[in-house]
């Protein structure tokens, strides 16, 4: 744990810290105020209360005054206490398949990380394809993208970071000065971000969105179905990102031969591939194949958890490792978000909110899709992508129902852009990790990130308009 000292004058710090109690008081007053208002026409009493809870949760999620997971727990508590839903039902929604799928995916990623298999892959790829500066940069961009198809993009960024740092050291690149150094870290982050939207495994937000879709409409999206719809967009985005990477950052060195030696040294340190690594790789491969081919039949969560059991039966992972790598806060956050989304839908609050807001200026389904995806991509730059989904999905699904838009399309329109935060370090952990290298100034990320974000949004819309209808997805 590193420390930082706040150098602002004490009175400024005191003032900035003292806003918290006032803010909580304001939220409580606003909550009470909303509940005290007469219930608007067309909205049920439960819907009225659900909107009050939604308001509190949105405020807390956006401001992060308390951890996201604790806000979710607050939602689970308030819903039964205000009589919106029975306790039994509220808590049972926490047992949503999506939550357990996320848990399983986290444990599988923990096994990959702990065994060192992912690092070994990274070293092998960089060593094989990184002969010239251009090829090395391409490998640092594309490999994390590909790996983020199969494990959390955040885990990939955390795993890649020390390797890229080592590359910059070996090449004696100077922080903030070297364009190539900047390019390496930006490439790593962009690769992780773009790759992370391709499957359910890249970011837990994707299954969360599908979980909310399932609870609200009874429909679901399979593992393969998601990939089929999103991967073409990912490939185009990767191509655009690749072009921009070379456009914005100059390759200011001619030779990267020293890197090979360093990578070989790292490989020697890791030793031979162990049986543990082989077995974990095999389990992971079989799990992915089962998700792709039997996901709908067997259930994604069932497959994930069965693989987890296999890992423990084969003694390939210890519970201690799971505790270390699994982000339990996210599990809690998602459970609460699904419960709140369900409550908003069933109480009619989501439909009412949609009618009062976006429906008033929704001229056509395509405009709605464009608006929601734009809102999602903009919000995710400044707040957690899971919170973006928790906030937008209930209203968006209600609008989809009213306008006859396929709810799956709406799920894609929210979930995919919510993962595409390229601009700011706080947008996504991959950007935060890249920024922590000390090679990048904020403007090195903001300008290209903004342009890539706009391009990605356009790509997404084009894919939605021209490609998805071929898959039977109707806007």
């Amino acid at each position: 744990m590193a420390v930082a000292i706040d150098k602002r004058p004490l009175w400024v710090i005191l003032l900035s810290k003292s806003y918290r109690p006032f803010f909580f008081l304001l939220i409580a007053l606003a909550f009470w105020g909303i509940l005290s208002l007469p219930t608007p026409a067309g909205l049920s009493q439960e819907g009225h209360k659900a909107i009050a809870v939604f308001f509190v949760c949105v405020t807390l999620w956006v401001t992060s005054l308390i951890p996201l997971s604790i806000t979710s727990l607050l939602a689970i508590i308030l819903i039964p206490l205000l009589g919106i839903m029975e306790s039994k039902k509220a808590y049972s929604l926490f047992g949503n398949e999506a939550v357990f799928f996320i848990l399983g995916a986290f444990i599988l990623a923990a096994a990959l990380m702990k065994s060192g298999l992912s690092t070994r892959f990274a070293l092998a790829v960089l060593s094989r394809f990184g002969g010239t500066p251009k090829r090395l940069l391409t490998a640092v961009y594309l490999f994390p993208a590909f790996l983020s198809f199969w494990m959390s993009e955040h885990a990939v960024a955390a795993m890649m970071f020390p390797i890229v740092v080592e590359i910059t050291k070996v090449l004696e690149l100077r922080p903030l000065r070297s364009d190539y150094g900047k390019a390496l870290f930006v490439a790593m982050a962009w690769g992780c971000i773009i790759g992370g939207v391709a499957t359910f495994l890249g970011g837990a937000r994707n299954p969360l969105a599908v979980g909310m879709l399932l609870e609200t409409t009874g429909q679901s999206i399979g593992f393969f179905e998601w990939m089929l719809a999103v991967v073409p967009a990912v490939i185009i985005m990767l191509a655009v990102g690749y072009f921009m990477l070379f456009r914005f950052f100059k390759i200011d060195l001619k030779n990267v031969s020293q890197v090979e030696e360093a990578l070989v040294h790292r490989k020697i340190e890791m030793g031979k591939v162990t049986w543990e690594e082989r077995l974990i790789g095999l389990v992971m491969l079989l799990t992915i194949l089962t998700w792709v081919f039997f996901g709908k039949k067997l259930g994604l969560a069932n497959i994930a958890l069965a693989s987890v059991v296999v890992l423990f039966v084969l003694d390939l992972i210890k519970w201690k490792d799971v505790e270390e790598y699994v982000n339990w806060g996210v599990i809690l956050m998602y459970g609460g978000a699904i419960t709140l989304g369900y409550a908003l839908d069933k109480s009619g609050a989501a439909a009412w909110t949609a009618n009062m807001t976006i429906m008033k200026w929704a001229s056509s389904p395509i405009v709605v899709i464009a608006l929601f995806s734009l809102l999602s991509i903009a919000l995710t730059e400044v707040m957690s992508n899971a919170a973006v989904i928790a906030i937008l999905m209930p209203v968006a699904l209600s609008i989809a129902k009213q306008l006859g838009i396929d709810p799956k399309v709406m799920t894609f329109a929210i979930a995919v852009p919510s993962g595409l935060a390229f601009m700011l370090p706080m947008g996504t952990p991959a950007c935060a990790i890249a920024y922590s290298s000390g090679f990048l100034k904020i403007k090195d990320m903001v300008v290209p990130g903004l342009i890539l974000g706009i391009m990605a949004w356009l790509v997404f819309i084009l894919v939605g308009v021209f490609y998805w209808p071929m898959l039977g997805l109707k806007i």
Binding site: A2, V3, P67, M333, S384, I433, S436
Partner: protein, 407 residues
């Protein structure tokens, strides 16, 4: 004799002789159990509550015009037939005890003024390569502890003994030069944490500047209330000659940079640096005082003592008449740069900036009132609580895990 500031200066540099009764009696016996070197003298309370640690063991003290004697149960300092009544801080009784691990307490820490000074890691990597500061006698006085680090338990025990006895109010940890980019500050963390957890006290550390400023942040965050990076010599050429290890491994510029950075992190008046008086021309020391004060650092002016066991054991003592104007300059520099002078209280081993007023003719009524308030029990409590609150507000823990961004 009537000016306590001047008397402190005289006693600090010339030392004091002890009467036969005191040399052979029990009153000061325990004082000789403690390590020699800086702070190894007798603590005397002069009029106006001015504390001084007067050397008594070194050879040069035999020539001192001052004599400490006991008459009718009272202590006096005598010079040329003139007497001043003084108080004596009895040497701590715990000097005669041992830690639970068998180390004599007198070898673990020493009390001078209101400070208990502990050297948990009695080692300085300058000595093996003969790059030590030439005035330093640490190598010869570290005694049986040698290179062994004290256990945290031993350190807690000695602090407990000193506080139980009521003989010290603050803890100071002293650290020699150690290799590595933090230069040993990380190894002090367990001691600092244990002291802060077990005692409500302010804690000062004297160490060498770390290579990176992040270590200074960490030093403050771990609970250190006051930090000292001793430049000792301001003149660059003399600095390199007298302190070759410091010059080679750290560099004079790093000392100044680290002090400047520390002054932006620690509260005003808690970042200090020694400029030893008597080892460089007065003009150079004045330049050093001004430079440090401008950065918000409190310059401290220990008077050079030719310590036995140091390379400069036979070096001549500076003339107090030459030093007096320096002390006046110190007071004015600290005051004009608006640096808090009230942190150092009951300091006996060097003349504090507030004591510099004795050489200016300035009554400094406001400063003295404030200083007395700080010295009071309520003032002490307030200082400690404000220090805690400040740290709580200023220190932010930065989790470097990717999970910290909450997905």
């Amino acid at each position: 004799m009537k000016n306590p500031g001047y008397l402190k200066l005289e006693l600090s540099s010339k030392g004091i002789r002890l009467s036969k009764e005191l040399t052979e009696g029990k009153d000061l016996r325990a004082a000789f159990l403690a390590r020699a070197g800086i702070g190894g003298g007798i603590d005397i309370i002069l009029p106006d509550d001015v504390w001084v640690n007067a050397p008594v063991r070194e050879a040069f003290t035999k020539e001192s015009p001052y004599l400490l004697l006991k008459d009718n149960g009272n202590f006096y300092i005598e010079k040329g037939g003139e007497r001043v009544e003084v108080g004596i801080i009895p040497p701590p009784a715990f000097y005669e005890k041992k830690t639970s691990e068998g180390t004599p307490f007198a070898q673990v820490g020493t009390v001078h003024g209101g400070y208990l000074t502990i050297t948990p890691i009695a080692s300085c990597d300058f000595f093996p390569s003969y790059e030590n500061c030439k005035f330093c006698s640490a190598n010869s006085v570290m005694g049986p502890v040698g290179k062994k680090a004290l256990s945290v338990r031993e350190v807690v025990e000695i602090v407990n003994e000193a506080f139980e006895e009521g003989i010290a109010e603050f803890v100071q940890i002293s650290l020699g030069y150690l290799e590595g980019d933090g230069h040993g500050i990380a190894s002090l963390e367990p001691y600092i944490t244990a002291i802060k957890k077990n005692f409500d006290t302010l804690l000062a550390v004297e160490a060498h500047p770390p290579d990176k400023d992040a270590w200074i942040d960490r030093t403050y965050a771990m609970g250190v209330d006051s930090i000292a990076y001793h430049l000792d010599i301001y003149d660059p050429e003399r600095f390199a000659n007298i302190c070759p290890g410091k010059a080679r491994h750290i560099g004079r510029d790093r000392y100044l940079d680290a002090l400047q950075y520390a002054a932006s992190i620690f509260p005003s008046g808690t970042v200090t640096s020694n400029l030893i008086v008597g080892l460089e021309p007065v003009e150079s020391t004045i330049e050093g005082i001004d430079h440090l004060a401008r950065m918000g650092v409190v310059p401290l002016l220990p008077i050079f003592k030719p310590l036995e066991g140091s390379d400069y054991g036979g070096h001549k003592i500076p003339d107090t008449e030459e030093i007096a104007p320096l002390l006046a300059h110190l007071y004015n520099a600290v005051k004009s740069n608006k640096i808090n002078m009230n942190w150092s209280k009951h300091v006996s081993i060097f003349i504090t900036p507030i004591e510099g007023r004795y050489f200016t003719g300035d009554q400094a009524k406001l400063e003295v009132t404030l200083y007395n308030l700080y010295k009071s029990k309520i003032g002490g409590l307030a200082t400690r609580e404000i220090a805690k609150l400040r740290r709580r507000l200023k220190v932010r823990e930065v989790d470097d895990s990717f999970e910290s961004s909450e997905l």
